[in-house]
């Protein structure tokens, strides 16, 4: 199989996933609403003193296998990009107060997946961002594939 691959030199598309972890504080609040409305919609997540989670980020990229290295992307390089673009900004921070994208948007898991996509899109050499998955906890996650409504 390897021989055939080398002979034909057909680029093979592969999905590659790297995980990273960070811990952050947040709360859910919409300034346009009354306190009662915030509590009704967001429940205990609306406690303005904040609460926190251990988040797990899974970033999946697609690309061709480099015939020389056998890599789609250099994992160390991908790890460094995740660290620089996301973890160093989000880890041990209060998302509402310290991360610019959540000055306006509510820091839900869905909005975090979109924000992380926007932070990473176009910054990974030789690969295309395929999916951003954010786990708020083991039983709750959001996926973003870069899709938008018409």
């Amino acid at each position: 199989m390897l021989l055939l691959y080398c002979l034909l030199s057909v680029p093979l598309m592969i999905l590659l996933t790297r995980k990273a972890e960070f811990s952050s504080a947040h709360f859910y609040w919409n300034d346009a609403w009354s306190a009662a409305e915030n509590e009704r919609v967001f429940g205990k997540c609306s406690n303005r003193n904040g609460h926190g989670h251990n988040y797990t980020l899974e970033v999946t990229v697609s690309g061709e296998i480099d015939p020389t290295t056998g890599f789609v992307v250099d994992l160390k390089e991908l790890k460094d990009i995740l660290e620089r673009e996301v973890v160093s900004v989000y880890d041990h921070r209060h998302l509402n107060y310290e991360v610019p994208e959540f000055k306006q948007a509510v820091p839900t898991t869905e909005n975090m997946a979109v924000a992380i996509w926007r932070r990473l899109d176009g910054k990974i050499p030789n690969a295309k961002l395929y999916r951003v998955r954010v786990y708020e906890m083991a039983d709750l996650f959001a996926d973003y594939y870069g899709e938008v409504t018409e």
Binding site: N30, T108, A138, A142, Y144, G146, E147
Partner: protein, 140 residues
């Protein structure tokens, strides 16, 4: 920044425990034992099932959500957990005329979550054990 509203997928996992027995009434006792092996034990056995539902929709600009988790959990509590948790699957109407395999369970759970109106159902995954899982995307 892209134009338009981002469409995200929201995944949530639920846990329940239930007993079952794999048995097909149309097959002989011997054939049932051959096909289903120890899962055919007449006294039944049980699992800690994990159900993962994946829903998609535009992120609401006011709430930042595809769907409100409280609504989804309330729905799952009523439709999924109240129905299946600590039950014998074989005695439920869903399995009156089909084997209670996890494949069939995934399809039944898909049908239940189609009744959830706040987002579009994309996938149901059921883990029977840590080593066995089944996914249904609504295909026919």
């Amino acid at each position: 920044m892209s134009a338009g509203t981002p469409i995200a997928h929201f995944g949530r996992r639920y846990h329940f425990s239930a007993s079952h027995r794999l048995h097909c009434g149309e097959l002989s006792a011997e054939r049932n034992r051959e096909v289903f092996g120890k899962c055919n034990n007449p006294f039944g056995h049980g699992h800690n099932y994990v159900v993962e539902v994946l829903l998609a929709g535009p992120i609401d600009a006011a709430t930042g959500m595809v769907t409100n988790l409280a609504d989804l959990d309330a729905f799952a509590g009523q439709e999924l957990l109240a129905r299946f948790d600590h039950q014998n699957l074989n005695l439920l109407p869903e399995f009156a005329s089909q084997v209670s395999t996890t494949e069939n369970l995934a399809v039944e759970i898909w049908k239940l979550f189609q009744g959830y109106r706040h987002a579009t159902l994309k996938k149901v995954r059921v883990e029977e054990t840590g080593n066995n899982s089944f996914e249904y995307f609504g295909e026919r």
